[in-house]
Subunit: 91 residues, 5 copies
């Protein structure tokens, strides 16, 4: 799973029926220092994650596993909202 | 899921039977500023998306989930046509 | 799905039984201008695609969906032979 | 599968129910010389791998196969803890 | 599928039970000129491929399809040992 910041959303009237009522967030992948990495993607959300929040998300088939219809034509989904990331200093 | 602009189509007589009658669009992945990113791919379409329209698409197994035969040998499919992308300014 | 040119083939005596009798092509991914992109891969073929022909192929689980044994240990397969690619000029 | 060093962990209260009680490690992919490669990811762990340990992990659907609920919305999981990597000098 | 040279192996005592008794090779992806490309990965092997041999391998779910337990938490597996690669000169 990767870490991302929620930065916006996509609206779509014409889409696969399995995604009706599912929020489509635009998320910016980030590293563990919360720095942006690469290009934003569109991910399905069930948690009501808000803009500015950090989430971890899954891609491929697992990305849709938390949707009402897990076989939906969706390849990225929010798996959870991040409370904190602890990077442990190695001694 | 990623965002792309429809830029053309592929015609193929000899192909897997599961893709007969399925439109094969050529789509150019873009970022949230609608700037081209990387190489166009071929994606199956059920929505009649036209050249110049922006779509979001899924890859891997999910890419075929909206096809008449979801187990088709296809790894990219249009999930919806984009009305708008809202990138929210963080305060 | 991506576009590629057939450039050769692989012979293998010791391989997974599910791939016995399946042609293993070496294909060079290309862009829509038929320019080479990145590294050739090995893809299973059922269509008799010849060297110099352009194909579109699927990867991951879908790559094997057109094989005699769709659960074969193969992650790339030819989905069809390309007749033409039309890139539409946007007005 | 790829090799990584465990560098930290993520805490998340709001997440998919299938991941409740599953440790979410932050791991840094490395090469066979144990040098860091690219960006850390979040991976589910069942082995109690500690910070500084080297693991090998799977992504995509296989990443969740060792979880209590293998269909969880998780696309990366620790497959094992590495005792040693032997790179054989070719003569 | 991609081509790789076998360069070593990984030993792991603590690992997913489905991988017990499965050889874990370290393989270096190569191009069709047998030049190294990118980072070595860990792949499950059932063929006894030796160091210095060239193999073709599958990733994602297909990578585990030749294992005793195909649902193992493994995302890369050897699909066969390469006898030869023929790149055909186009006239």
């Amino acid at each position: 799973m990767q870490i991302a910041r929620v930065i916006g959303m996509v609206t779509s009237t014409v889409k696969v029926p399995d995604l009706k009522g599912v929020t489509l967030l635009v998320i910016q992948p980030v590293n563990t220092l919360y720095e942006s990495l690469g290009t934003p993607i569109v991910a399905a959300d069930r948690f009501g994650a808000g803009v500015g929040e950090y989430v971890f998300y899954s891609t491929s088939k697992e990305g849709a596993m938390n949707l009402p219809i897990p076989t939906a034509c969706a390849d990225a989904g929010i798996a959870g909202i991040i409370d904190s990331i602890a990077i442990v200093k190695e001694s």
